[in-house]
Each structure stands twice: as C-alpha cells, then as structure tokens.
C-alpha cells in the first residue's frame, strides 16, 4: 500500500485515495467548437509515459480534495504532490 502526501492532510495510506487519471487535461471551454477528432483526443488519448507521470488523485476518504501528483510509473514512487490549479512542477531528480 502506497503512502500518498495529500497537499492538505499530509502523508496518508493509499486506501484513503482514489486515482483520477492523467492531470492537466482541461475540459475545453467551448466543446462545440471542437472537431470530432479534437474531441476524441480530449476524451480518450493520454500520454501513458514510462517514467514521470502527472496524475490526479482524490483524498476521497479524507479531505475529499482532488489534487495532482507526479509519480514515477517505473518505480511507483511519488515525486511530489500539489494542489489542483497549480502548474506541474519541473521535475528532474529521480524518485525514491
């Protein structure tokens, strides 16, 4: 069971959290302006990187907040977590 650092509550066990998919994919302001291809891209296509992945988590059995995390998909260790709305941190150092 992973330890996840909620930006509001601090380090808590994974069992209190729910995964929320890739982060920083904003819903288009005017969906009707998008072509079918653009809409499909928004709805379904994700980067799925091997390595650092910015993703959403929700502290559902805690403060209830959605927040973002950068997790290394190879090591499964979290590099950092940050509040929704904040920019993705520039991550270079490796996770432990």
């Amino acid at each position: 069971m992973l330890i996840i650092n909620c930006p509001y509550c601090g380090e808590r066990p994974e069992i209190e959290f729910r995964y929320g998919g890739e982060a920083h994919i904003a819903r288009p302001a005017d969906p009707s302006a998008l072509s079918d291809a653009e809409w499909t891209d928004f709805l379904y296509n994700r980067t799925n990187p091997k390595g650092k992945h910015a993703e959403r988590w929700r502290h559902i059995h805690g403060c209830g907040r959605y927040f973002n995390a950068v997790r290394d998909t190879v090591s499964d260790f979290f590099v950092t977590t940050y509040k929704t709305g904040e920019a993705r941190p520039d991550i270079e150092e490796s996770a432990r």
Binding site: C9, G10, R12, I15, E16, H61, G62, C63, G64
Partner: protein, 199 residues
C-alpha cells in the same frame, strides 16, 4: 433507480430473510472493559458547513465555536465542537440539541455570503471508544498511525474502518469518537467488538 446488482427474470428464486442487526441492542449488550470500552453516544445536531472565506468567520461566531483553519483539527466550546473535514468543509456538532435553531442562526449570520449549510443530524451515529487499548482496537480496521505524536488530542479526520468510511477524532489520550453513517454503524460496531476481544 438503478438496481444493477439485482438478479431478476422468470426464475424468481432469489432473495433471503434477513432479520437485521439493531444497533441499540448491540450497544446494550456491550460489556465495558478496562482495556477499551465502546459506548453509543446520544443524538447530536450535525450541520455541514461549506463556503467561501467571507462566510467562515460569521458561521463560527453564530455557532459559538470558531471553525478551525488548521487541517484535521477540531475546536470545542462547551458541548459544541467544529471539525475540519476539508479546506472548505466543516461539520458542526451540538450534542443533545435540535438542528433547526442552529441552522437558522447560522443562515442569518451568513446571509448573502457564498456558503452551503446542510442538516445531516440523522446521517450518522457516533461511538465513544475509550481505554488504554483504544488505539490498538481501532488499528484493526484503520490504517492511520494512532500514536499520540501522529494523532494528537484535538485531531479529527475522515478515514476508513475496514470497508466503511468513518470520521475519527481523539478527545483524550485514551478516547476516540467514531462517527459513522447510520447504515454502516452495525458493521463497524461489530468489528470494533470483535477487535476488543483479547485486547
């Protein structure tokens, strides 16, 4: 109404009797113990307050207990308490009181300020778990570090107990209060009783 889990069709052989479990009966049958005792707490007015910055102060003033701004902490004044549940979410507790006058007072104080106040007095029930082994009992379903350093008196949080969500708070070094949604209460109570055996 979605009844996705339902099995139906011309073969109507499903269903079963289920006498059910009465929480009151469970509470009555609970034996106190020197290591950890379990007690059903009386009815409480419970109001959820959520809102923008401007409404937070007036809400606390109207209730008589300031809304804590530190994460996972609760404030108490007399019998009333306010628990921080999230950065814009608090639960206001007034044991033994009715929710209506409190609701009205807070709505008056916060009129025109963006907020939401909802009566959830009936949504949950609360247990007191007290004794030197209270933490040991809780840790049989709750994964948090319940040492006094990590979970001091005055701390509260939504968390889990086995397959149920709970709101947990520490009222004294050896005392916790577990607030649990009504329909999950017999399940949590019975697991706590099981955890108390041999504690």
């Amino acid at each position: 109404m979605s009844e996705a889990a339902r099995v139906s069709g011309p073969d109507l052989g499903h269903g079963h009797p289920y006498p059910g479990v009465s929480l009151a009966a469970l509470a009555e049958g609970s034996k106190p113990s020197a290591s950890a005792s379990l007690k059903l707490l009386p009815a409480t007015a419970r109001l959820v307050f959520r809102g923008r910055e401007a409404a937070i102060g007036p809400a606390g003033e109207a209730f008589g207990v300031a809304l804590p701004r530190e994460a996972c902490r609760f404030n108490t004044n007399g019998t009333r308490s306010v628990l921080w549940l999230g950065p814009d979410e608090w639960i206001l507790l007034a044991p033994g009181e009715g929710p209506a006058p409190l609701f009205a007072a807070i709505e008056t104080a916060t009129a025109g300020l963006p907020h939401a106040l909802v009566d959830v007095s009936s949504r949950s029930v609360a247990f007191d778990l007290s004794g030197p082994k209270a933490g040991f009992v809780l840790n049989q379903g709750n994964p948090l570090d319940l040492s006094l350093d990590a979970f001091p008196v005055g701390m509260c949080t939504r968390t889990v107990f086995a397959k149920s969500e709970i709101v947990l708070r520490r009222t004294a070094p050896d005392s916790f209060v577990v607030d649990v949604w009504r329909s999950f209460a017999p399940y949590v109570w019975q697991l706590l009783e099981e955890a108390r055996r041999g504690a």
